[in-house]
């Protein structure tokens, strides 16, 4: 059996806190194929972000196996995980997470710096990407000079810098008004059409409805996993 793009097997995650050992994810099994558009839903504290961070190679499960593109992420060291994040995954966060003291162009170029891409190509790629998200004329602006919606588009441009196969978005529209949110979701839909796998965490139903598959998490367990129509309901 060929493994899917994302493969979780009996995956658990627990945190050691003052209250004792708290299990946040319990024996999760999940496969996602390349090109899917998945929305992960569930109430606050159900473990959505925790799961997304594990899928994004930012954190490791306490037990179980996570295979990304056939690679056992748990067996990789720091730098190998970093390279995987750099060339396979693009992150979009609720709080945008741009470097506040770098221009938009610099922000978008950063993943290319870490990918050891040459200077000229970095500039070219950054310009193309910012144009793609409609900010081609703001290359030298600072993040605090643009709106939240625009910042999130810069974050998307940055996430796309190294042509990732997977976009992970943790409540990307959580800080945005509905109009800006729609722009972001349209970009995701477009990217998904280009073949990029999208994994989206949200608790807004109308945002989740852009996805073609909705997974519901409750107390660290998948309680629902169904295919949906996808964008533009």
């Amino acid at each position: 059996m060929a493994a899917s793009f994302i493969e979780l097997k009996d995956l658990s995650k627990s945190y050691l806190s003052r209250a004792g050992n708290q299990e946040v994810l319990t024996d999760l099994n999940l496969s996602i194929n390349e090109g899917e558009f998945v929305a992960l839903m569930g109430p606050s504290g159900s473990g959505k972000s925790t799961l997304m961070n594990i899928i994004g190679c930012l954190d490791l499960p306490t037990s179980g196996i996570y295979l990304l593109n056939g690679t056992d992420v748990g067996s990789l060291d720091y730098d190998e995980q970093a390279i995987l994040r750099n060339n396979t995954i693009g992150f979009i966060f609720q709080g945008f997470n741009l470097l506040p003291r770098a221009t938009l162009e610099k922000n978008v170029m950063l993943p290319l710096v870490y990918a050891r891409v040459g200077k000229e190509e970095r500039h070219d790629r950054a310009r193309v990407l910012l144009e793609k998200v409609g900010l081609g004329n703001r290359l030298l602006a600072m993040p605090n000079e643009i709106s939240g919606g625009e910042q999130q588009r810069v974050a998307i441009a940055r996430a796309l810098a190294n042509n990732p196969k997977l976009i992970l978005a943790d409540e990307p529209t959580g800080n945005l008004d509905s109009g800006s949110g729609r722009v972001i979701m349209d970009i995701f839909t477009e990217l998904n059409k280009e073949g990029i796998t999208i994994f989206l965490v949200t608790h807004e139903l109308n945002i989740a409805s852009y996805a073609k598959r909705q997974i519901k998490l409750l107390d660290g367990k998948i309680v629902q996993d169904e295919a949906t129509k996808g964008a533009n309901q």
Partner: protein, 407 residues
């Protein structure tokens, strides 16, 4: 990669200008202190070397009287003269001895016209000026014939010439020493300070016999205060001590259980002690100043730790988009190194300025060597790496998720 990193490092430092400057200040002061102290230390060493070479090379001195327990260079002052000119001449015959000159001296009032000057009058033989490598600037040195007939001739030092004659040419003039007229045959070239801090040029030289018979007649006729012996090599200095001692004991008819009534000292060895002391001094100055470098380094470490904590989230973002461990390590390490190197650069300027100021104010000789500046940079770079490494490592070893979630 590296140029992108350097621009980021530079920007991070410029954004926090004041903090960067204050952190650099520690390095500036540390490097400035080291450069200045080393300059002073090397200057002192240089002055001492100068004095020693002005003293003459490979010298022994034989003093009248028994050894002082302190072994200092008192030149037999106040001791009963036991040596004679004949003793000195006898030593000349020993192998490895190049030249010998007896010395008789005292202070006297010198008068020329309406000017008078109290100074040291030294009776020597012509070989004295060879031994001390001390040529005349004008005129000639008195001769062996002058020694034989104890003529009233004098060679005068630069300082004396200036005080008595001003701009006038002293050679050929008549001066009065203890009322008696002396013919000035030569003006000695400038010699500078001696090891014990006296002005070599504040002296007048006359034939030793003249000094004995006509200036400082003692109750022990024909005695001299001391004589200096020049050997043909440094090794010969130690080898000569016992033959000289034996010869003089024999000449003084000292029986076996009687102490020496003279004292042979190795001037060159004493000079080497002074050189060692100067070296130690400059080493100590450097070492004390280096402590401030360490303090500067600790300042850098402190600020870098604060910076790493402040920028935890930034580190998380960088990690999330694929920074390798060494990318993060290098970024913070470079910040520390740039702070210390730029601080060092300014510190070198401050140190050189300070050294010149010391020279201006105190007249102390200072020497700024390229090596000390290069060393300062090397040490500053080392301090930056040493004290920057721990904070940088701390940044590089943060777990990406913990760094990202940091509030």
């Amino acid at each position: 990669m590296i140029e992108a990193l350097l621009t980021e490092v530079w920007q991070a430092l410029v954004v926090n200008r004041l903090r960067t400057f204050l952190t650099m200040l520690g390095m500036m002061i540390g490097v400035g202190a080291v450069v200045m102290m080393v300059a002073i230390g090397e200057g002192v060493q240089d002055s001492i070397n100068e004095m020693i070479s002005s003293m003459g090379s490979n010298l022994l001195v034989v003093l009248s009287g028994s050894a002082t327990s302190s072994g200092g260079m008192k030149m037999g002052m106040g001791a009963t003269p036991t040596l004679t000119k004949a003793d000195a001449e006898a030593v000349t015959e020993l192998p490895q001895v190049v030249a010998v000159s007896p010395l008789v001296y005292g202070t006297a009032q010198i008068v020329y016209g309406s000017n008078n000057w109290s100074t040291m009058v030294v009776g020597v033989t012509p070989s004295y000026f060879d031994i001390r490598d001390w040529p005349v600037e004008e005129g000639t040195i008195f001769t062996d014939a002058d020694i034989r007939s104890a003529t009233r001739v004098a060679l005068i030092g630069k300082t004396v010439a200036k005080s008595l004659f001003g701009d006038e040419d002293p050679v050929g003039k008549i001066i009065r020493i203890k009322q008696n007229p002396y013919f000035v045959v030569g003006l000695l070239s400038a010699k500078g300070q001696s090891l014990d801090g006296r002005d070599n040029d504040d002296a007048i030289f006359v034939p030793v016999t003249t000094a004995q018979l006509k200036l400082f007649g003692t109750k022990f006729k024909g005695t001299i205060r001391l004589f200096i012996v020049q050997a043909n090599s440094v090794e010969a200095l130690t080898e000569l001590i016992s033959p000289i001692t034996e010869l003089l004991r024999e000449r003084h008819h000292l029986s076996i259980n009687v102490e020496n009534d003279f004292n042979v000292q190795n001037l060159t060895a004493l000079a080497n002690v002074a050189v060692k002391a100067a070296k130690l001094l400059s080493l100590m100055l450097g070492a004390i100043a280096s402590i401030s470098l360490v303090v500067g380094g600790i300042g850098i470490m402190n600020i870098m730790l604060v910076s790493v904590t402040e920028r935890t989230r930034e580190i998380g973002i960088r990690a999330s988009i694929g920074a390798l461990r060494r990318d993060i390590l290098l970024q913070f390490l470079l910040e520390a190194v740039v702070i210390s190197l730029v601080g060092c650069m300014i510190g070198v300027v401050i140190g050189i300025g300070g050294a010149f100021l010391v020279n201006k104010i105190s007249g102390l000789n200072v020497i700024i060597s390229l090596q000390s500046v290069l060393l300062a940079f090397l040490v500053a770079g080392g301090v930056g790496i040493f004290f920057g490494y721990y904070p940088a490592r701390k940044a590089a070893y943060l777990k990406p998720i913990d760094a990202l979630r940091y509030q």
